[in-house]
């Protein structure tokens, strides 16, 4: 509740033209959005492009944010739309190769060995997700990584909760087979 109030205060300040409030809002949610985009696109560069598109849309639509839902839910509604458009427009399977985009950019791991393990683990997850069709991948992402409810996902993706469930279960069936192969290897 406290976060929501702070969000609303930051939103009103950002709408009044405060760049500092806007930056605070972006910093609060950019990590989640970036990781969401990274898992969907499989590329850090594409994830950055997509994340910037998402926050540009958030900034443009901020005056129309009614506060009926949490800001995070609303941001991911935009993110779902943008990622759907992006995947559709690219007509390509995610590269599932996390490109190094910044020499000075450091992941959260501490040691080179841990860093390597992290990269391998993340790459494996992105590879698994890339096996899914676009519409299923977004729903798996929103359900398992963002922990939204079926109703929230339905609102974000513009489809019915039953369709969300159907797509999710189809994705789980598909992923299960893929993971079995992976475990055998």
């Amino acid at each position: 509740m406290l976060f929501k109030e702070e969000d609303s205060q930051l939103i009103s300040k950002a709408l009044d033209g405060s760049e500092r409030a806007w930056v605070k809002l972006v910093r609060r949610y950019e990590k989640r959005v970036f990781n969401y985009c990274l898992r969907l696109t499989g590329s850090a560069n594409d994830a950055m492009d997509l994340m910037q598109e998402v926050f540009l849309a958030v900034y443009r639509n901020l005056p129309s944010f009614q506060g009926n839902s949490q800001l995070l839910t609303w941001i991911f509604r935009i993110a779902a739309n943008k990622s759907t458009d992006w995947l559709r427009s690219k007509h390509r399977v995610p590269t599932h190769e996390a490109d190094p985009i910044d020499v000075n950019h450091k992941v959260d791991s501490k040691t080179p060995q841990l860093e390597l393990q992290t990269e391998q683990s993340n790459n494996e997850i992105m590879r698994c997700l890339s096996e899914l069709p676009d519409n299923q991948r977004i729903i798996v992402e929103l359900k398992f990584f963002q922990h939204f409810t079926f109703d929230e996902i339905a609102m974000q993706t513009g489809i019915s909760p039953n369709t969300v469930k159907t797509r999710l279960y189809a994705a789980l069936k598909k992923l299960k087979g893929h993971l079995e192969v992976k475990h055998v290897m």
């Binding site: 033209g17 806007w22 898992r39 910037q52 959260d108 992290t118 698994c128 798996v140 992923l175």
Partner: protein, 219 residues
Amino acid sequence: MSCDHSLVERYLFEYLESTLEPSLARAFEQSIDRCEHCRDLYHGAVNMQQMDKTWHEQTPPNWHRTAFVARSRQSKHVNWMNRLSLATSTLAIMLVLFRVEFISNDSGFSVSFGGKGSQSEIASIVEQKVSQLAEQQAEYIDTRFENQKLDRVSENQEMVKALLAHNRSERRQDMNVLMASWLQQRDSDQQKFNKRLDYVVDNQIENNQYLNQVLKTSH
């Protein structure tokens, strides 16, 4: 035994979060054991949960978070400039269309509409308009007077008609009264005449009787 998968599909996430009631949890586990589809869903979900836990959050690289804020502000400025230029253009077109002139003269500064105009021309136009208005007013007054006269004549006619009608009704009443009195007088005269006639006839009869009696006695 066939399975419709509804139990697992309905309570999958409650079971994963360990918030399912024990009886339902037991039924859920039985479904997983018996049905391959339900088992696949469950294992898929477990694996996805595992992926969520093993995913290492990546920090986004530094980026210009206010780039589009500045761009947006610039666009607002451009919009304002566009609006200003549009308003100026519209004003200029209006000035040309209405032939507006700003003339400085001895008495100061004057604005004229409709082309080259001087004070005398404006005064003559005003005079012409005033005379037209006066003519219209005179015509209007004449018309009103004529209408007033016609109204009076018609009122007089109405009044005369009313008087004549009243006079006629009075005469009619007088005649009626006169006729009634005349008829009454005639009746009374007739009655008197009849009485006199009866009296004369009676006398005549008495005279005849007397004469007859005298004659009888004389014989």
